[in-house]
Subunit: 413 residues, 2 copies
Amino acid sequence: MASHRTKMARFAKLISYDEAVGRLLSVNWVQIPVESVPVLHSNGRVSASKIVSSVKVPNFDRSAVDGFAVAYSDVSGSDEFNPVLLKIAGEIEAGKFHKNTLANGYAYEIYTGGQMPRNADAVVMAEDAVRRGNEVEILKPVRKYENVSRSGEDLDVGQVIIGKGEVIKPQHLASMVAAGFDEIKVYKRINMGILSTGNEIMPKGGTIKNTTQPLLLNYFNSGYMETIDLGVVPDEVEKLHETLKSFRTKDLQILVITGGTSLGVKDIVPDVVQEYGSFVFGGVMIKPGRTISLYEVKGMPVFCISGLPVAALISLEAFLNEYLSNQIGLRKSRFIVRARMSERVANRDAMRSYLRVHLKNTELGLIAEPLRITGSGILSSLLKANGIVVIPENIEGIEEGDAVEVSVIGEVL
Amino acid sequence: MASHRTKMARFAKLISYDEAVGRLLSVNWVQIPVESVPVLHSNGRVSASKIVSSVKVPNFDRSAVDGFAVAYSDVSGSDEFNPVLLKIAGEIEAGKFHKNTLANGYAYEIYTGGQMPRNADAVVMAEDAVRRGNEVEILKPVRKYENVSRSGEDLDVGQVIIGKGEVIKPQHLASMVAAGFDEIKVYKRINMGILSTGNEIMPKGGTIKNTTQPLLLNYFNSGYMETIDLGVVPDEVEKLHETLKSFRTKDLQILVITGGTSLGVKDIVPDVVQEYGSFVFGGVMIKPGRTISLYEVKGMPVFCISGLPVAALISLEAFLNEYLSNQIGLRKSRFIVRARMSERVANRDAMRSYLRVHLKNTELGLIAEPLRITGSGILSSLLKANGIVVIPENIEGIEEGDAVEVSVIGEVL
């Protein structure tokens, strides 16, 4: 077992966040496979290509309401007391194509979604007309193309529906359906295993509840990533070896190990992991979570992170986002807003700090109040915070009233 | 089949949004049942009670780092050149309770999570100390309680972890684990069936793709609500009856029917649904989506909404939120931000309008640019919009520069 002094050497010099990211990006990670899925089942997945419409939607001019298809110039003078009288040339249902042409002085009765007859350029809503036998009184004028969904007005040929690396939302999915896509290419759902270590959190005999593992399992589970509970092992080298070997049969793309990453003699995780692959980085100037280290095991990233919940969450997310951006082009999906800091915040020790703040709407705009929290184990800080401000390592502090960019993580009321 | 004139009577007078909500709230809906679930599987569910911690977390003072537990006053003068030398009284692991007491001039080696010995009030980090046999050189002073997680500092007795009606997020879940909860009461997942109607969207022979159904199925599916695809029926009274009768065997809490809600002779939905239950309201001064109607069928809400995707989404959400707020106390979970409108927007016809906007971060703060969209079928407006501004019916317009509240529905970059 390594002594304190040699273990300290591992962190003797914390590296900068940028250097750590640079090392992460320099590794030749195993690529995340792409698969075809039905568009109808693609919600929450990450698009593996740019999806462009090759058709116009709608692909014909159609009525947006139930009413009467007219030439707008025919009904320009109409009102309730001087209705314009038009003859009804026929009825146009939705769902069927036709070749009708409108003649002067005529209207077609038309239903929502119905194809516009040639020469008609507006639809009078049913409420603004009174049908009398084969004629209709128009009570209100319409503007050109009023109540008409024009061909291509929703999607035009060449219009981008979603970019590569974007998370597919319901509106993307529906637009792909509209454009006639049945199947699309997405990245395979990434299996991220999460293993906890620590005598103190063992289900039997531990003195502390294991909150970090359920926090991470639920926080990172998404349409494009499946988190897998790999259980808890005590701080024993042999047990950890056994457990890691048992994962060979699992289809993991990312492995996360929490706890045992500090300098204590019980902190065995990095030393054990090192036996399976290569060291990428360890010890980063970020707060909280500086004990994070990264190993490459047969092309798979193995993140060893703090056992403390907030440090674990923040440090893992910071590097996971970089990994996913690099591997599948994932774009940041958080809401970023600008706010003013309510008070001075010092940033000591030249660390990149992830400050939890409470964002408030005020008459003067959005205000970010820093939460005064020591200790990266304070889970309840995540209940109170609705935003995160990143303070770079070269900034010694933020002054009261300074503008900051805030990642929104909860409701702003 | 009802004539135009009698059908028009249904909407002869659109009612206000507030009146429609009032009628919705006056119905004696069947209650959503409550069930117990393991905390570990409660993510995304709606809490059926206020959850309050009955313990302190942590329940003992513990070290937040690996290092040496000291009396802070013993090491106040230390620095690298004049380290304070302390004797090591022993080692304190995480995961075990003990009754150690610190004497003057002593330190305990301690690991993250380890219980603080009595009389110790700070921890010197391992990096700031050098162990030499049974002694340790302290290279840096510490403040009182530095690197100590104090008993109750995360959660105190009586502290609220989550309120009734709040959606359980990973941080709530983890805090409940920390406070020792194994099972909690949540509302049963609500089954919401979505049936589409319309000849034009029939899988065989339709002229238009059915985008509304996949949009709603994916948008409203969540941890607390399961959406169920009930297929598509043509605009035929008998077919609709058959289909509705077949749902008797399904466990639905909400039924949504899209299409066929306007005034056309093909718009059969409300008339058919009326035969199964009572009319609550129909025709509301909202834009888009004014054709929404609500029926009560054996205590179950049946929403009949537009077949056009944006109108369907906006009108259903507006009333579903009211229903859920009333039935399970669900709290709004959107991000609301204040922004300034980039240009004048008129609000004609005294309608409550749901304006899609593009929110932009600028030097002058958040700016909301209205998307100029006619027609509630323009799905791509949901690709471009990242916010919704509600303009109440009694407001004739919003002036350029006016402050508005925006519900954020996409990234703000």
